[in-house]
C-alpha cells in the first residue's frame, strides 16, 4: 500500500470516528446530521481507497460496494440509534447485507444460515424482549452514552490498525478466481483443508454448491466441535428456561454490600 492510500485510509477512519461521535446519543448535544455528513465523507474516502484494490471491476464489485455501504451505515445506526427497536431492525439489515457479502464470497450456505438463525430466530427474540421491557419514553440510559469520545477514539484506532494491515493482502495470494463471474454453474473450491497454504484448484463444475463441502468439513474434520456445539445449545436452553421460569420479586436499588475488607471488623472472623 502506498503512503498516499494509507493516509487516505487514516483520513477516512478519522472522519468516520468523528461521524460516529456526533451520532452517538449524548442528550441535547447529539448532532446526527453532522455525523451523517462526516460518515458520508468517510465512506467516500474509504471507497476511494478500496477502489485501488479492485483489479478488474465486474458486477460483483458493484454488489460489494452496495452491500458493504449498507452494512456499514446500518452498523453505525445499530450503535447510535437511541431506540433499541430500531437498533435491532438495523442489525437485521446488517445481517442481510453481510449475508450478501458472504454470497459474494461463495459461502451461500453460511449466508442463508445466518439469515435464518439471526434474522429468523435471534432477532425475533431480541425484539420480543425489547418490546416486553420497553419504556414509554426514551429512558436516560438510552439518550446518553458513556465515555463516547474515549470509546470512539480507542475503537477507531484499533479499527485503523487492523484495517490497514488487512488491506495489504496481495491479490496474487488469492486462490481460485471468482468463479461465479466466469462460469454459469457454480464452481467448487477443492482443498484437503489440512494445509495452511492456499492450494485450491478449480475442479470440474458441480451443481451442488458449497453446502456439501461445508457439510463434509463439519461432519468430518470438526465433528467434535459440532458435538460440543450441540451440548452447548442444550446447556443454553436449559439455562435460559431455568432462568426465565424463576419468579423474582421486584426490588429497588439497594445499597452496596459492605466491601470484603470490612468483614473482619464487623463480623467475627470465625
Amino acid at each position: 500500500m502506498t503512503p498516499e492510500t494509507a493516509y487516505l485510509l487514516y483520513f477516512a477512519f478519522a472522519l468516520g470516528g468523528a461521524g460516529v461521535y456526533f451520532m452517538l446519543p449524548r442528550g441535547e448535544a447529539t448532532k446526527p446530521a453532522v455525523g451523517a455528513l462526516f460518515g458520508l465523507g468517510s465512506l467516500i474516502a474509504l471507497s476511494l481507497v478500496l477502489s485501488t484494490r479492485i483489479i478488474t471491476p465486474d458486477h460483483t464489485t458493484y454488489y460489494f460496494y452496495l452491500f458493504s455501504t449498507i452494512a456499514i451505515a446500518a452498523a453505525v445506526r445499530v450503535i447510535t440509534h437511541p431506540k433499541p427497536v430500531y437498533s435491532a431492525l438495523y442489525f437485521i439489515l446488517v445481517v442481510i447485507s453481510v449475508s450478501a457479502l458472504l454470497v459474494l464470497l461463495e459461502a451461500e450456505f453460511l449466508a442463508v444460515a445466518a439469515i435464518i438463525v439471526y434474522a429468523g430466530a435471534i432477532m425475533v427474540t431480541y425484539l420480543f424482549v425489547i418490546m416486553l421491557a420497553q419504556q414509554t419514553s426514551t429512558p436516560h440510559y438510552d439518550s446518553r452514552s458513556r465515555e463516547p469520545l474515549l470509546a470512539v477514539m480507542a475503537g477507531f484506532v484499533l479499527m485503523a490498525a487492523i484495517a490497514t494491515r488487512s488491506a495489504d493482502i496481495a491479490p496474487s495470494r488469492v486462490v481460485a478466481s471468482d468463479a461465479r463471474s466466469q462460469v454459469t454453474s457454480p464452481v467448487v473450491l477443492v482443498s484437503d483443508g489440512a494445509t495452511d497454504e492456499p492450494t485450491g484448484t478449480i475442479n470440474e463444475p458441480l451443481t451442488r454448491g458449497n453446502t456439501l463441502l461445508v457439510g463434509a468439513s463439519v461432519m468430518t474434520r470438526y465433528v467434535v466441535v459440532l458435538e460440543i456445539s450441540g451440548v452447548l445449545l442444550l446447556v443454553s436452553m436449559v439455562g435460559a428456561i431455568a432462568m426465565s421460569r424463576k419468579r423474582v420479586p421486584m426490588e429497588g436499588y439497594r445499597p452496596a454490600a459492605p466491601p470484603l475488607g470490612q468483614i473482619g471488623k464487623e463480623v467475627e472472623p470465625y
Partner: protein, 653 residues
C-alpha cells in the same frame, strides 16, 4: 487349618456386622423402621457362626500350626519401607476372643430387641441404636482380628468412638452427654499413651506387624541393629499399659466406667462383658512378648490390678444403684485379670475374661430387665421382694451373682481361684488382696440380690411391674447356662489352658520367675491346691451369709455400721473422692489455662494479625477506586490495551 476358610470366616466376622450397621443406619429410618434389629441381628449372628467355624478350625488344627497370618490388601504405602497391610492374625487367643465377643454381642442384640421398646413400640433412635451396636461389634472384631498395631489402633479408637456414641445414646439427657464425653476424654488420656507406645514400637522396630515386632523383642534387637535395652522395652510396655488402663478402667483411669451406666443397659452389658473393657486385657495378652520381657511392667500391672480390685470392691460395698454396683464389680474383676497377667498367668486372666463375660453380661442384662420392669428405676433402696414379680429375671440374676461371688461350681469360682492361686505363689500380699476382694465381692453382690429380690414386695409408685419379653428372657437363660458351665472348660488347667498354651508358651510362661506357671501348679501338693479352693469357696459363702444376716435377718446392722464409721462410709460413698480430685487437680487448672490462652489469642495474637492485615487493607482501599464496577469501564481499558499492543506489533514488524 485351611487358610481359605479362615479368610472367609474373618471377612464375614468383620463385614457382616458392618453391613448390618450400614443397613440399619442407612435404611432403618425409611425401610426397616421397627424391624431395624434384623439386619444387625443377622449380621452379628452370621459373625457368630463364622466365629464358631473359625474356632473349630483353630481347635482342630494340629499342635504348632495354630497361628495364621492372612494378608488382605495393602492399606497404606507411605514410602518403600513404610507399608501397612490390612491383615488378619488368627490364633487361639483370637478365636476365643471372637467367640466371646460375637456370642455375647449376639445375645445383647437379641435382648435389645425387646429392651429398646416401650409397650411394644420402638424407642426413638431404635435404628440408630442397632446401627451403633453393629458398628461396635465390627470395631471390636477389627481390634481382635487385626494383624498389626495399626489395625489394633484403628479398632481401639473405633471402639472408643462407638462407646461414646452408645453411652451418649440419650443425647438429650445432660448426664448421658456428660458421661459420654467423660468416657471419651478419659479414654483419650489412655489412648495418648497407647499411641505413643505404638509410635515408639515403630521407631524402635521399623514395623508394626505383630510377628516381626515380637520376634525382634525376643531377639532383643532394634531395627537399627542395636540391642534393645530394658529401659526402652519398659517404656514401650508402660505406654501400652496406659492405653490398657484407659480401656479396661484400671485405677487412675477407671472413672469413666461407672458413669457409662447412662447408656442403655444392653450397652453396659456389651461394654462390660464383650467389647470395650476386654480390649485392654486382650491387648496385653496379645503383646505378651513385650510385657513379659519387662519385669517392671509386669510388677506395675500386678500392683495396679490388685489395688484396683480391692479399691473398686470397697466402693461397691456402699453403692445403692444396681448398675453402679455392677460397674464397680467389673472394675474389680478387671483388676483380677490384670493381677493374673501381672503374675504371668495370662491364660488364667483370659479364662477369667471368658467366664466373666458370661456372668457379667448376664448380671447387666438382668439389671436391665429389673430396670425395665421398674419403669427405669435402678436405685435398690426403692424396691424389694421382686422375686415373685419377675421370677425368670430373679433366677438368672441369682445364677449370675453366684458366679460372680465365686461360689464353687459356678464359672467365676474356677477362674478367680486360679488367679488367686497364681497371685499367692507370686507374693503373699497379692494373694491376700485377692482373697479379701473375693470376700467383699460375695458380700456386695448378695447385698444387691437380697435388697432387690427378698423381703416384702416393694415397688415404686405408679410402676406397672412386669416380666420382660421373650427375647430378653431368652438371652438371660442362654447366659445363665454359660455362667454355670463356662468354668468347667478350665478345670484343672485342661482344655482351655491347653488350647491357649501355644500363644503364651513363649511369652508369659517362659518369663515366669518361678520356672513357669504350669510347673508351679503341677508341683504343688494336693493340700496346697485344694486347700486354697476350700478357703476361697468358704470366703464366698461367708460373704453371702454376711449379706443374708445384714439385709434379711437383722436389717438394722447396716444403719449401725453406717453411723459408727461415718468417715469411712463417706469416703466410700464418694468413691474415694477421685472425681473431685480430678476436677480440682486437672480440670480446673486446664480450664484456667484455656482461658489464659483465649485471652492471649484474642488480644495478643489477633492484635498482631490485625495489625498485619491493616496494611493490605489500606492498599486495597486505594486500589478500590480503580474498580468502578461497570464492565464497560473495564472493557474500555481492555480495548485501549489491545490497541496499544496491536499498534506495537505492527510497528515493530
Amino acid at each position: 487349618m485351611s487358610i481359605e476358610t479362615l479368610k472367609l470366616c474373618g471377612l464375614v466376622i468383620l463385614l457382616a456386622p458392618l453391613a448390618g450397621a450400614i443397613l440399619a443406619g442407612g435404611l432403618g429410618p425409611r425401610v426397616f423402621r421397627s424391624r431395624s434389629h434384623w439386619p444387625v441381628l443377622l449380621g452379628v449372628g452370621s459373625a457368630f457362626v463364622a466365629a464358631i467355624v473359625l474356632f473349630r478350625e483353630v481347635y482342630t488344627a494340629p499342635v504348632g500350626e495354630t497361628l495364621a497370618k492372612i494378608p488382605l490388601y495393602e492399606w497404606i504405602a507411605a514410602s518403600t519401607n513404610a507399608r501397612f497391610n490390612v491383615e488378619l492374625l488368627i490364633d487361639p487367643l483370637t478365636a476365643i476372643m471372637l467367640v466371646t465377643v460375637t456370642g455375647i454381642s449376639l445375645l445383647v442384640v437379641i435382648y435389645s430387641r425387646d429392651y429398646m421398646r416401650d409397650h411394644g413400640q420402638p424407642e426413638r433412635g431404635y435404628e440408630r441404636f442397632f446401627a451403633y451396636l453393629g458398628l461396635f461389634v465390627f470395631a471390636m472384631c477389627t481390634l481382635v482380628l487385626g494383624g498389626n498395631f495399626l489395625l489394633l489402633y484403628l479398632g481401639w479408637e473405633a471402639v472408643g468412638l462407638c462407646s461414646y456414641l452408645l453411652i451418649g445414646f440419650y443425647y438429650d439427657k445432660p448426664s448421658a452427654a456428660a458421661a459420654a464425653k467423660k468416657a471419651f476424654l478419659v479414654n483419650r488420656v489412655g489412648d495418648f499413651g497407647f499411641g505413643l507406645g505404638i509410635l515408639l514400637i515403630y521407631i524402635s522396630f521399623g514395623t508394626l506387624e505383630y510377628a516381626a515386632v515380637f520376634d525382634m523383642v525376643q531377639e532383643r534387637l532394634l531395627a537399627s541393629g542395636e540391642p534393645l535395652t530394658d529401659g526402652r522395652l519398659s517404656a514401650i510396655a508402660l505406654c501400652l499399659l496406659a492405653g490398657a488402663c484407659g480401656k479396661s478402667a484400671q485405677l487412675p483411669l477407671h472413672v469413666w466406667l461407672p458413669d457409662a451406666m447412662e447408656g442403655p443397659s444392653p450397652v453396659s452389658a456389651l461394654i462390660h462383658a464383650a467389647t470395650m473393657v476386654t480390649a485392654g486385657i486382650f491387648m496385653i495378652a496379645r503383646c505378651g512378648a513385650i510385657f513379659a520381657a519387662s519385669p517392671l511392667a509386669m510388677t506395675v500391672i500386678a500392683v495396679i490390678g490388685a489395688t484396683t480390685a480391692l479399691f473398686a470392691a470397697t466402693i461397691a460395698l456402699v453403692q445403692t444403684d444396681m448398675k453402679r454396683v455392677l460397674a464397680y464389680s467389673t472394675i474389680s474383676q478387671l483388676g483380677y485379670m490384670f493381677l493374673g497377667i501381672g503374675v504371668y498367668a495370662a491364660d488364667s486372666a483370659v479364662f477369667h475374661l471368658f467366664t466373666h463375660a458370661f456372668f457379667k453380661a448376664l448380671l447387666f442384662l438382668g439389671a436391665g430387665s429389673v430396670m425395665h420392669a421398674m419403669g427405669g428405676v435402678i436405685d435398690m433402696r426403692q424396691f424389694g421382694g421382686l422375686r415373685k414379680v419377675i421370677p425368670w429375671t430373679f433366677m438368672t440374676f441369682v445364677i449370675g451373682s453366684l458366679a460372680l461371688s465365686g461360689v464353687p461350681g459356678f464359672a467365676g469360682f474356677f477362674s478367680k481361684d486360679e488367679i488367686i492361686h497364681h497371685a499367692l505363689s507370686a507374693h503373699w500380699l497379692l494373694g491376700g488382696i485377692g482373697l479379701l476382694t473375693a470376700l467383699l465381692t460375695a458380700f456386695y453382690t448378695f447385698c444387691m440380690v437380697f435388697m432387690a429380690f427378698s423381703g416384702p414386695e416393694r415397688i415404686p409408685e405408679g410402676v406397672h411391674a412386669h416380666e420382660s419379653g421373650g427375647w430378653m428372657i431368652f438371652s438371660l437363660l442362654v447366659l445363665s447356662v454359660g455362667a454355670i458351665g463356662a468354668g468347667y472348660l478350665g478345670v484343672g488347667g485342661k482344655v482351655f489352658h491347653h488350647f491357649l498354651e501355644p500363644v503364651f508358651a513363649e511369652t508369659f510362661a517362659a518369663h515366669m520367675p518361678t520356672h513357669g506357671a504350669v510347673h508351679a501348679v503341677a508341683h504343688q501338693s494336693f493340700w496346697q491346691a485344694y486347700g486354697l479352693m476350700v478357703i476361697s469357696g468358704s470366703l464366698a459363702f461367708i460373704g453371702i451369709i454376711g449379706a443374708y444376716v445384714m439385709y434379711v435377718r437383722q436389717p438394722w446392722i447396716p444403719g449401725l455400721v453406717r453411723a459408727s464409721a461415718r468417715g469411712t462410709y463417706d469416703t466410700l460413698w464418694n468413691k474415694y473422692f477421685v472425681d473431685e480430685a480430678y476436677q480440682a487437680g486437672i480440670v480446673e487448672p486446664a480450664k484456667k489455662t484455656g482461658e489464659l490462652c483465649v485471652g492471649l489469642d484474642n488480644y495478643f495474637i489477633d492484635g498482631l494479625i490485625w495489625t498485619v492485615t491493616a496494611i493490605p487493607r489500606g492498599l486495597g482501599y486505594l486500589a478500590r477506586t480503580l474498580q468502578g464496577g461497570a464492565m464497560q469501564g473495564y472493557g474500555l481499558s481492555m480495548v485501549a490495551g489491545v490497541t496499544v499492543i496491536v499498534l506495537l506489533v505492527f510497528w515493530c514488524q
